[in-house]
Structures are given as structure tokens and as C-alpha cells.
């Protein structure tokens, strides 16, 4: 969070005050993105993931400072909270007609049509036949109403089906008897038992599971599209209480219902003890229980208060630039229409005035009806002028292209169909078509000037592959395709799903003499890889009954790659529960107790586990980014080793590999006890638990003994270099915003041909505002120099910079961005960046990505496009004019937030250069055609 503060202030239209004056507690927990002063509203589910940030969240603040919480007695259904019945249907039989009409008439065009139709009903004014003028509007209204009604009936049905599903609920008076109950009758406080593969009926706090340690796995594909299994825990206290007497009694205090899927704060009073609960203790409605025979939980939020229902909102709506312009033109046309009507009525008045005395007998006017002696359809000149005005409105109404809006929507629908049906945009590997999620910005695709791309998962496949390792200062990176190793469990052969290339030398070292000091270190290295993670091994059946596949499921693809790597070298992670892991070490199954786990977070940039080894020693395994690891490594002991590792790291990252450093420390008994005490205290702390845990982690993660480093390859997607080349040829600027470190980012830049050797690189990498300012000024001077130099050669600067070969590339890192985006320096950054044809931003936080997009978007008229695949790209995707999500490995959040989604980065080329171009051109033609057609039509009448 600290790194985001400055950004918030800068981006906010009312500088610092807006951010700092926020009230400490709000009825709805303030969401990170809400602080932004950006113009884009960030709906709840698309908020950047906060999994890795256990700091005191807004919701926690609310729970303790605001005093707003709900109390739930476990096992006692309380009727005061919303029931579990859900209602997605909009109408009932009674309210259908008024509500539906109201919804429909919220569109301006319908109101306009209605006004014209009503005018047409006045006998004096009627131009077209009365019935005929009602027909088109009535038809459209009717068809829409029928469609709405049909959909609503479907919604009613699905609601009913959902509400009538059965769940096993603890009957209140009996002891441990679970009776089936309809979902709609479940109330907050009910204790529900869910079996494997069943869907959860409401948001529940886990009380106990079939796993003795209280572990449960859930799949949240319905919630956020992520297919991997997430681990949830029941608290030991409740788990124990349940296993003793078959039920749990207690009082639960939790925050009020909110939209944050990744946050939950509560505490449970059980047997006079207060146990605190976090996001890992709650399972949400819509998830499925997996790999766990049963789980028992108490309902805390039901029905419309569940997080999934609160997050139930449509895709974001953006307005295309063309449409904005069209609206402006429409205003002009309206003025023109009024002008024409006034002219017509004034002229009519003048004519009437001139012929006033002749009107009575003139054959073509005949003001009097002689059978009755009254004036016929004539009300005096003033009224006649007014009637003429209304008639003119009806006659000239076509000049306002209201029907154009409907045509545009139809055209966009067709374009969306064409884009979705395009074979060139179909991704074979993920079997996903192109999807248009926002229907009204198709033509903006043809106007893109800036492309902001995430790196991981967007340019690269995000399929990590373990490539090389540096262990104790020795580089092992000559990989050979390996057969992979298997483990025999209960006469069955368990094989890891993915084999990794192994280094034969390393393999030999590992297998032959394990007494060797070096081999021991190697073993420790791989043990650290296998143990220090949050991977869950899943055992899958194969066709061969003798064989099973181990599939490592985890939230981080890096960890998966490392676990597979360790498995390929013979250290196979076989089983994981919350209390221990079973690792097959070269054919020998060993159980390691997991005594404590300090989760990865983006501030520490490392994670650690404390493991009780079979030989009764307690070891701390740490792995993390090199920058954070070298700070805690005991350099005095093994300087050569550290130096060699550093050199290897540099080599790996210049190869474009993602690097991690692994270290360990043996904990002495007093040290361990001291830690354990603090850890237990912190884990049950209610206030500021995240900070406490972090400081404990910082205390124990010191004096680390370096084991080695790993290099993981993040493969480029197909066709990325070509795609970037094409985009640049088309005059678009491609910026890469990545969380990787500078060397990795630059090497990826080279491998995707964004950077070339003849480019002049301007690197801004500073740690203070002053130095940032200095380097920016320098950079500005260099760009000016460069411009002068190139403008001598050729009169066309654009062409010159392409041909003269000295293209500028700007590389900025996240630290400097903190100082730049905060201040007036961003103006200078903007100047420098627009001069450079390539911009690479590394080590940027999600909100900084959005800040960079905003930097361009707010200062130029150029269209921006952001493309990304992960939760960290969501803010950027929503900030840009056009957001594209990649259906990738990192789950569905980016896609949910995006306007368009597709399978591969390279599809950007056909999307922008073919479809975007066509969409824009065709839409433009259609609008112009419509304007001219209407003008011809009306002006002929007018004349």
C-alpha cells in the first residue's frame, strides 16, 4: 500500500486532500481502487487481487473501529438477517408492464419517438396516418417486452431451481443430525454440511472438515474464473471441538456484508476463547468443494448478502469516441431542426398575413365551413404558426438520426459477431474464441495509438519451466529432456504430470553419493523447493490403473514449476495438509511437519516455511526475489558463494529467466520456541494481525544461509515479436508494464524485438525525488538532442527516427515511478516518454500501471489500449480506453474487467489492424451516409 499512496494523490483531481480526508470508516468498506480519482469506476469484482497483502484491510478497520458487525450464534438460525433465497428476476407478473416500459423508455430515442407519435395523434398536426405512426414504436416496444419477459421467466425458473436445491443442515434441537433443507430456507447461523463436489449454498465459515487438520479445497471457477484449487482451513479450535462432541457452539462476530471476495474479518468466541478468522476460513457461495470428503460450516452471509451476489454486476460500459462525437453532432442537428421549423412557421405566418383576406374564398385554403358557418381548421395566425411549427417538427424529424443509434447498435452486433467468428482470432490451445464483452466501443479498436501490455501471461505464456539452477555457487544449466521420476505408493506408480529438463551432472550428484557435503546442499535446495510453497498435489487417475498422475495445483505458476523441477530430480512432493507435507526424497518417503508459514507478500517479496524435519531439527526455508533475499543473507560467512550466485543470477536474468533465490537456516531450540510463541500470539491477534505476522517473519528471516538460485523460463507466446513489429509499423506505440525486474524486462524486450541493439536506452532508476528529477532532465535533454540530430537528416521526423537507427527507448522502474507519478515530474516523464518509441516500465505495482495509462490518456487525445491477463492488470484494463483481457493461466479477473477478451497476444494484430480498421471505417461510412441521406431527405422537403 505504501507505494500506492503517492500515485493516488497524483491521479486524484483534488490533490492530496481527497485521499487523506477520507473518513476512517465508511458504511461500505472502502475499496482500494475507490481511492483513485480516476474517471473509471472500478466495480467490485475487478479490484486488484489482495491475496498477497494480509495488512489490516479496510474491512478490518471497519470491524474494529466502526463497531459495525454482525453477531452470529453458531447453530442458531437467526431470522434478523437476509434469508438465503436469491432473486435475480427483475419483474413479477404485476410489475412487469410498468417497470418494463420504464426501463425501455430510459433510452432517449424511445422518448423522442414517443413525443413524435403523440404529436402525430393531434388531428391538427397529424402528418402521417395516426395508426401508422404508432406502429413502429409499438412494434419495437412489444418485441423488447416479449424478450424481456422470456428472459425474466427463465430467471424466475433458475431462481426457483437454485432456491429449491437441498443442503444438509444441522437440525437445531438434535445433536449432530443433518436434515435436508431447501436453500431458500437456510438462514444465517445454520450449520451446513457439504460433501465433495457439492456447491456451497451460502457464504460459510468453516468449522470442521474431513481432514483432521481442518483443511478443505474449493474451486472458485464460478466466482472468479480461476480453475486452480484454493485451500481453506477450519480453525483448529472448532475442528477439535467438533471432533470431540460432534457440534460447535460459539458466538461469531463478523464484518457486515461487502463485495470484497478476498477479504473477510471475523472472530469466534468459543469456550471463552477468542479465535480470529480471516479470508482463508470462509468459503463462498457458488464455489465447489473439492478433494475433501465433507466440510461443515456456519452460514454467515446468505442470499443477496453473499459476496457472489453483491458482486453481481454487468460488464463495464464505456462509450466510444465516435459516439461521443456523434452526440455532439446531434446537438447541432437539433439546433438546425429547430431553426428549420422556426423558419418554416415564420414563413407560413408571413404568407398567411399576406393572404389574410383572400383565405376565405381561395379554393385551396377555404378557411370557412359553410355548412356550419364556422372556421374550419383555422385558429388565427398565431395559433396557425404554432401548428405549423409542430407539423414541421414531424416532417423534419428524420434529420435527427435517432434511428442511427439503433442502426449503430445493430452494426456493432454484426461486427461483434464477425470478430467472434473469425478463425484468425480463435485460440486453439485454450479453445477460446474472441469475445466482445463491451459492445459499444468496437470502432475504437481502429483508433488505437498506445498499446500498454502486461508481460507475464500476455507476451509470455505464463507456463513456467524450470531451466537452470545455481546451487552453492555452481551453475547447473545444461538441461536434457528427462523421463521424470516416479514414486511408488501402495503398489501404485505416481508420476508428476510434467517432466522438466534435468541436468545430468546434478542428477548424478544427487543420486550417487549423498554423504558428500555438496550433495547435501543440493538435497537441501530441492527440499526447499518442494516444501517452501503452497502447492497442493492432486492425484489424478490415468487409463493405466497402476499409474497415477500427480498434478501440482497452486496459485503461483512459479511455484508449480519449482515443485515439478524438484520432482524431476527425485524429490517429489506427495501430500500436503495444513500440518505436514510428505516428500518422497529419492525413493524414501519422509514426513516434514510444517510448523509455520509466512506467506508471500509483495512488500517482503519472499516467503518462508518453518519445517520440523524427520531428524528432529527445525529448519527455516526461505525463497524470494533476489533483491529481498540478498538483504537477509549472511554474507560474511560465504562471500564467494554469494558472489558466484549473484553472477549466475545476473546471467539468468539477462537470458530472460525469472529468478528466485533460495535460502535456509537451522533454528536452534530457543530460537524456535521464541518464534513459536510470537507466531501463535500473532495468529490469534485480532488487531493488525498482518503487520504482526510480518514483523515476526522479518525477525526470523535473517542470517540466511544461501542455498542457491533458480532460473525459470517464461516462454514467449507465439508470434509476439512479429505482432509487436507490425503494431509499431502501424504507428502504434507499444509500452510494456511489468512487475519483473529491470534485467528480465529488458531481456524480454529484446527477445520480443521491442528493443533492438541500435536503440539508445534511457534508464531511469532512482531512489529519490531529486535524482529522478535530474535523470528526467537529462533524458529530456537527450531527446531534444536526438530530435535535432534526426531532423537534420530528413524533413519528416517520424520517418527519420525509423531510418536513422537511433530510436530512443525509455526504461523506468517502479521505484522511480513512485517519485515521478507523485509529483509535477510526471509532466516531464510524459514529454520524455512521448519522444521515445519504446517504453518499458518494470517493477510496477498494479495501480502504477493504471497511473501510467492515465498519464497518457489524460494528456493526449490518443486512444489507449491495455492488454493483460492477471488480476494485477485489472486497474490498467479499466483505465484504458479499450481494455483487452487474455484468457490465460492467471484466471478470469482480467477478462471479467475487459472490453474484449481473446486467447493470444498476437491476435492484437488482426484485431486492431483488420477488424478495428474495418469497424471504424464502416461505422464512419454508415454514420456519414445516414447524415447525408437525412439531410437530403429533409432539405428537399424544406425547400
Amino acid at each position: 500500500m505504501t507505494s500506492e499512496r503517492p500515485l493516488i494523490d497524483v491521479a486524484s483531481p483534488h490533490p492530496p486532500a481527497a485521499a487523506s480526508q477520507l473518513p476512517p470508516s465508511q458504511p461500505e468498506p472502502p475499496v482500494r481502487a475507490d481511492h483513485l480519482g480516476f474517471s473509471v469506476e472500478v466495480p467490485g469484482p475487478f479490484r486488484p487481487s489482495r491475496r498477497d497483502q494480509p495488512d489490516p484491510s479496510a474491512s478490518e478497520r471497519e470491524l474494529h473501529e466502526g463497531g459495525e458487525y454482525r453477531a452470529v450464534a453458531v447453530g442458531e438460525p437467526s431470522p434478523e438477517f437476509a434469508g438465503n433465497a436469491v432473486r435475480t428476476a427483475k419483474y413479477s407478473a404485476l410489475t412487469f408492464l410498468p417497470r418494463n416500459l420504464f426501463e425501455q423508455f430510459r433510452r432517449l430515442s424511445y422518448v423522442y419517438f414517443l413525443a413524435i407519435t403523440v404529436l402525430n395523434q393531434l388531428p391538427q398536426v397529424a402528418v402521417f396516418g395516426r395508426g401508422a405512426s404508432v406502429l413502429p414504436l409499438a412494434f419495437v416496444l412489444f418485441v423488447t417486452a416479449v424478450k424481456d419477459a422470456y428472459e425474466d421467466i427463465r430467471r424466475h425458473r433458475s431462481d426457483r431451481r437454485e432456491n429449491n436445491r437441498l443442503a444438509a443442515v444441522l437440525a437445531p434441537q438434535t445433536a449432530g443430525e443433518y436434515l435436508p433443507k431447501k436453500w431458500k430456507h437456510i438462514r444465517v447461523g445454520d450449520v451446513v454440511r457439504v460433501a465433495s463436489n457439492e456447491t456451497l449454498p451460502a457464504d460459510m465459515v468453516l468449522l470442521a472438515t474431513s481432514d483432521p487438520t481442518g483443511l478443505a479445497h474449493v474451486q472458485t471457477v464460478n466466482l472468479d474464473g480461476e480453475t486452480n484449487l484454493k485451500t481453506r482451513y477450519a480453525k483448529q479450535e472448532t475442528q477439535l471441538s467438533f471432533s470431540h462432541d460432534g457440534h460447535v457452539a460459539g458466538m461469531l462476530h463478523c464484518e457486515r456484508p461487502n463485495r470484497n471476495i478476498y477479504g473477510f474479518q471475523a472472530n469466534l468466541e468459543i469456550d471463552g476463547k477468542r479465535v480470529s478468522l480471516g479470508p482463508s476460513n470462509i468459503v463462498l457461495r457458488g464455489c465447489e468443494l473439492k478433494n475433501t470428503t465433507w466440510a461443515i460450516g456456519v452460514v454467515v452471509y446468505a442470499g443477496k448478502e453473499t459476496k457472489v451476489m453483491l458482486n453481481n454486476s454487468g460488464p463495464p460500459s464505456k462509450r466510444s469516441r465516435l459516439e461521443t462525437q456523434l452526440n455532439r453532432e446531434t446537438v447541432i442537428l437539433s439546433i438546425m431542426l429547430i431553426g428549420m421549423c422556426i423558419t418554416a412557421s415564420v414563413l407560413a405566418g408571413i404568407w398567411l398575413l399576406n393572404h389574410q383576406r383572400e383565405l376565405e374564398f381561395t379554393q385551396f385554403f377555404r378557411e370557412k365551413d359553410y355548412t356550419t358557418g364556422k372556421n374550419y381548421n383555422y385558429y388565427g395566425i398565431g395559433m396557425q404558426i404554432f401548428v405549423t411549427f409542430l407539423m414541421a417538427v414531424i416532417v423534419y424529424q428524420v434529420i435527427i438520426p435517432i434511428s442511427l443509434y439503433i442502426s449503430m447498435e445493430l452494426v456493432r452486433l454484426g461486427q461483434a459477431y464477425f470478430m467472434g467468428a473469425d478463425n484468425d482470432l480463435y485460440d486453439e490451445s485454450s479453445r477460446s474464441r474472441f469475445q466482445c464483452r463491451a459492445l459499444n466501443i468496437n470502432e475504437d479498436l481502429g483508433q488505437i495509438k498506445y498499446v500498454f501490455s502486461d508481460k507475464t501471461g500476455t507476451l509470455t505464456e505464463n507456463k513456467m519451466e524450470f531451466m537452470c539452477a545455481s546451487i552453492h555457487g555452481v551453475d547447473y544449466s545444461s538441461g536434457k529432456p528427462a523421463c521424470g521420476s516416479s514414486v511408488v505408493v501402495d503398489d501404485l506408480l505416481w508420476t508428476p504430470k510434467m517432466a522438466v529438463r534435468t541436468d545430468p551432472q546434478l542428477l548424478k550428484l544427487l543420486n550417487n553419493d549423498s554423504s558428500n557435503e555438496e550433495a547435501k546442499l543440493v538435497l537441501e535446495f530441492f527440499l526447499a523447493l518442494a516444501a517452501c510453497n503452497t502447492i497442493v498435489p492432486l492425484v489424478l487417475d490415468t487409463r493405466d490403473p497402476k499409474q497415477k498422475l500427480i498434478d501440482y495445483q497452486g496459485e503461483s505458476p512459479d511455484e508449480q514449476a519449482l515443485a515439478y523441477a524438484a520432482a524431476s530430480y527425485g524429490i517429489v512432493l506427495v501430500e500436503r495438509t495444513s500440518g505436514y507435507v510428505v516428500i518422497d526424497v529419492l525413493g524414501d518417503r519422509q514426513r516434514f511437519d510444517i510448523l509455520g508459514l509466512h506467506e508471500f507478500d509483495s512488500d517482503r517479496k519472499r516467503m518462508s516455511v518453518i519445517v520440523g524435519c524427520p531428524d528432529k531439527t527445525v529448519k527455516l526455508y526461505v525463497k524470494g526475489a533476489d533483491s529481498s533475499m540478498f538483504g537477509i543473507i549472511n554474507k560474511s560467512l560465504e562471500l564467494d558463494n554469494v558472489r558466484a550466485t549473484e553472477a549466475h543470477l545476473h546471467k539468468y536474468s539477462s537470458l530472460g529467466l525469472r529468478t528466485l533465490v533460495v535460502g535456509m537456516r537451522e533454528l536452534s531450540q530457543p530460537e524456535f520456541e521464541e518464534w513459536q510463541l510470537a507466531y501463535e500470539k500473532a495468529s490469534t491477534a485480532v488487531l493488525g494481525r498482518g503487520n504482526l505476522l510480518r514483523s515476526i517473519a522479518a525477525n526470523v528471516e535473517c542470517n540466511i544461509h544461501i542455498l542457491g538460485a533458480s532460473g525459470i523460463e517464461d516462454k514467449l507466446q507465439d508470434g509476439v515479436p512479429e505482432a509487436i513489429e507490425s503494431l509499431r509499423q502501424a504507428g502504434m506505440k507499444v509500452w510494456i508494464l511489468t512487475g519483473d525486474k529491470q534485467e528480465t524486462a529488458i531481456s524480454i524486450g529484446y527477445s520480443c524485438k521491442l528493443l533492438t541493439n541500435d536503440m539508445t536506452q534511457i534508464v531511469i532508476n532512482n531512489n529519490s525525488k531529486e535524482s529522478c528529477k535530474r535523470s528526467l532532465e537529462e533524458a529530456l535533454a537527450r531527446t531534444k538532442e536526438h530530435r535535432v540530430a534526426s531532423s537534420i537528416g530528413s524533413p519528416y521526423p517520424v520517418l527519420a527516427s525509423e531510418s536513422s537507427g537511433t530510436v530512443l527507448a525509455l526504461i523506468v522502474d517502479g521505484n522511480s515511478l513512485v517519485y515521478i507519478l507523485e509529483t509535477e515530474l510526471q509532466e516531464e516523464l510524459f514529454k520524455v516518454a512521448t519522444e521515445c518509441s519504446v517504453v518499458l516500465c518494470c517493477r510496477v505495482a498494479p495501480l502504477q500501471k493504471a497511473g501510467i495509462v492515465a498519464l497518457i490518456k489524460n494528456r493526449t487525445d490518443d486512444m489507449t489500449l491495455a492488454i493483460g491477463d492477471g488480476a494485477n492488470d485489472v486497474s490498467m484494463i479499466q483505465m484504458a480506453d479499450v481494455g483487452v483481457g487474455i484468457n490465460g493461466q492467471e484466471g478470469g479477473q482480467a477478462v471479467m474487467a475487459s472490453d474484449f477478451s481473446m486467447g493470444q497476444f498476437r491476435f492484437l494484430v488482426p484485431l486492431l489492424l483488420v477488424h478495428g480498421h474495418w469497424n471504424y471505417q464502416r461505422m464512419g461510412y454508415m454514420i456519414l451516409y445516414n447524415f447525408y441521406k437525412n439531410a437530403t431527405f429533409v432539405l428537399v422537403l424544406f425547400w
Binding site: T88, V140, V143, T144, K147, D148, E151, R154, R155, S158, N222, G225, T227, N311, N312, G314, P315, H355, E358, F361, Q363, F364, F365, R366, D369, Y370, T371, T372, Y376, N377, M391, I406, E409, L410, R412, L413, A416, Y417, F418, G420, A421, D422, N423, D424, Y426, S430, R431, S432, R433, Q435, R437, L439, Y796, V798, L799, N887, G892, V895, M896, W918
Partner: protein, 351 residues
């Protein structure tokens, strides 16, 4: 609304939070493939022609248009000049008194009027006789709408007079056939033509459109209650002749688009030589005086472009000439200052 439908479906999908069931790995059933079907239509590969406007094509197109239009213009101008047309305005000269409206409204005054014209050129038959009225807004909204086409066509629809007010029904609620201001204001001047003193028949058969006679006016519908109101608008009709044979009415009912218009009165099916005297005896009945209009008699021959009309020929000549000169100009530009085709440096934003 189709858009709406699509949107709502999306929305609906979201509300269930099942946007796209991501397939799990290993589930490779070929049947569930999501690949779009190939067709030339969906891939937008249908053959299309979009001509590039190269200088050559543009010059050729302009030259072609010029080459086509100039002869057409010349031919029609020539034809128009062959037409002999005599126009004689008589509204002022045929009323001897100052109170013109009073004169014309008085049914007892003698409204006979004689007009003499000398034919400048040989006129070949058929010679069309038109009446020309100026300042009569037959296109006025309340006039145009004041008719009942159903009533003119179908016997059973005689009562459909609601659009015809104030000339719909008589005072005792009997429907007027034909109703409405249009029929009511039927032109009622008559012409008797003498060439060199010899009475020449003006043939009033087949002056209306055939389609109007056959399709718009019923053969079994006879005028009734017509022109019986307090205010007489124009001609009366012979109640024994069906509407489809009342050709003057049919001609009149085809309303003119502009306030100055001529309508066919009849045809003289005899040639008239140059310097012959044409004397027309006019029964000057029609009241154009109340609205300040004018009346004229027109005798005209016809050519393949119709009556005398120089406009078409001039228009063709103008456009043709413009195109030819443009073609020439472009050709010169193309020869003198040729540009490379597709050079991006000529784009406005690159200059």
C-alpha cells in the same frame, strides 16, 4: 433492441457468474470444440470490388461522363427548340371591370372573352391545349389532403368523407361525390378554337392518365351532391357520366407540385400553318382573382422530350462541360505534376 437482447444475455450470464466455463486440462473431447465454423461470409472473404481512385480512372470517368452528357444535352436542347409554343395570359384582359372578384362571382355576367393569336411557325398535330394557372397552391397541405381516394374508387365507400371537410357532406349529411376541396375547385373555363375563322375541334378524349382512369376512378361511380353547397368552387359535373370518364376531373385531381402549373385541356388534331390566326373564345368562369392568381392559355406541339423545356438540355450541357473540363484539368495536372502513388509523405498529418 437486438443489441439489447445480446447485452441482456451477457448480463444474465454474469449474474450467474458462469461467464465461460474454462475447460480443465485433459478434457479434450473433440466434440466440444469451440472453433468458429469456416465460411467465406464469417471470415469476410467474400469477393468484393472496391476500385482505387487512381488519376487514370478518375480522368477516364470524367471524360466518359462528359462525352456522354454533351451530346444528350445538345439533342434535347435541339428538340426543345423545335417545339412551337403559344402562351396567352387572359385573366386580366377578360375582365372589363375593376371589381374582378365581384365580376367573376356574379353568375349573371357574360364571361365570354375572345383571344386572337398568330402562329409564328408551322405547328404539327397533335397540338396540345393547356390551361396555365399561377399562384394556385395545389400543393397546400390542407388542399392536398382534402380528398377521399377510396370514395373515388369504390361505390361502397361513398360515405368515407372524413378527410374532405368542409366539402365532405351536404348540410343534410348526404355524402358529396367526389368530395373534398380538390374536386370542389375543378377548373371550369372552356375554350372554343377557330383557325382562320374555321371552328376546329378540340379533342378532350384521353387527356387523363390511363392508369388513373382505370385504377383510381370507379366506372360505376357517378357524381352526386356535387357543387350543391353555398360556395361554388368550380365546375359542375354531369351526373350521368361515371367518374372514370370525367377526364377533366381526373386531370385536375392529379395535383400539381408547384403553384404555377399547366394542365392538359385537349388536343387539336389538325396542323396549323405559320401566320394562321387562331381565335379562342373563352368562357372565363374560374376565379383566380380572389387569391391573386393568373390564368393563361397554352398551345404547344410536342417532341420526344415533351413540351418546350430548355432546362434538361442546358443541365446536361453544363454537367457534361464541367466533367470534360475537370478531366482536362486533371489530365494536365497529371502530366505536369505527377505524384507517386501511395506516398505517405503526402498525407496531411505528415506534411
Amino acid at each position: 433492441f437486438i443489441f439489447d437482447f445480446f447485452n441482456a444475455r451477457l448480463h444474465f450470464g454474469c449474474s450467474r457468474m458462469q461467464m465461460y466455463p474454462l475447460e480443465m486440462e485433459g478434457n479434450s473431447n473433440p466434440k466440444t470444440t469451440n472453433k468458429p465454423k469456416y465460411s467465406k461470409f464469417t471470415q469476410q472473404e467474400l469477393p468484393a470490388c472496391k476500385p482505387l481512385l487512381t488519376p487514370e480512372i478518375v480522368i477516364a470517368a470524367f471524360a466518359l461522363i462528359g462525352a456522354l452528357f454533351v451530346p444528350i444535352g445538345l439533342a434535347s436542347l435541339h428538340a426543345s427548340r423545335q417545339v412551337v409554343e403559344l402562351v396567352h395570359r387572359y385573366d386580366a384582359s377578360c375582365v372589363p371591370v375593376d371589381d374582378k372578384v365581384g365580376f367573376i362571382q356574379n353568375s349573371r355576367t357574360d364571361k365570354t372573352c375572345t383571344v386572337t393569336m398568330t402562329v409564328p411557325k408551322y405547328m404539327k398535330s397533335p397540338i396540345h391545349v393547356y390551361y396555365l394557372i399561377d399562384g394556385f397552391y395545389q400543393n397546400h397541405r390542407r388542399y392536398v389532403r382534402s380528398r377521399s381516394d377510396k370514395q373515388l374508387r369504390y361505390k361502397s365507400a361513398a360515405h368515407l368523407t372524413s378527410d374532405c371537410v368542409p366539402e365532405g357532406d351536404t348540410a343534410d349529411h348526404a355524402p358529396i361525390v367526389p368530395c373534398g376541396l380538390v374536386a370542389w375547385s375543378l377548373f371550369n373555363d372552356t375554350y372554343t378554337v377557330r383557325v382562320n375563322g374555321v371552328v376546329t375541334q378540340v379533342n378532350k378524349k384521353d387527356i387523363a392518365w390511363k392508369s388513373d382512369k382505370n385504377n383510381k376512378f370507379g366506372k360505376n361511380i357517378y357524381p352526386s351532391n356535387f357543387q350543391k353547397g353555398r360556395l361554388i368552387g368550380g365546375a359542375t359535373l354531369n351526373e350521368s357520366i361515371p367518374l372514370s370518364e370525367q377526364e377533366d376531373l381526373i386531370v385536375w385531381m392529379r395535383t400539381a407540385a408547384l403553384p404555377t402549373f399547366r394542365k392538359l385541356y385537349g388536343r387539336i388534331e389538325k396542323d396549323i400553318n405559320a401566320n394562321d390566326n387562331v381565335t379562342v373564345v373563352i368562357q372565363n368562369n374560374y376565379n383566380t382573382y380572389s387569391f391573386g392568381g393568373s390564368k393563361a392559355l397554352v398551345l404547344s406541339t410536342a417532341s420526344w422530350i415533351g413540351g418546350k423545356n430548355n432546362f434538361i438540355g442546358i443541365a446536361y450541357l453544363t454537367i457534361g462541360g464541367l466533367c470534360l473540363s475537370l478531366a482536362m484539368g486533371f489530365l494536365v495536372l497529371y502530366m505536369v505534376k505527377r505524384r507517386n502513388f501511395g506516398d505517405p509523405s503526402n498525407l496531411s498529418w505528415n506534411r
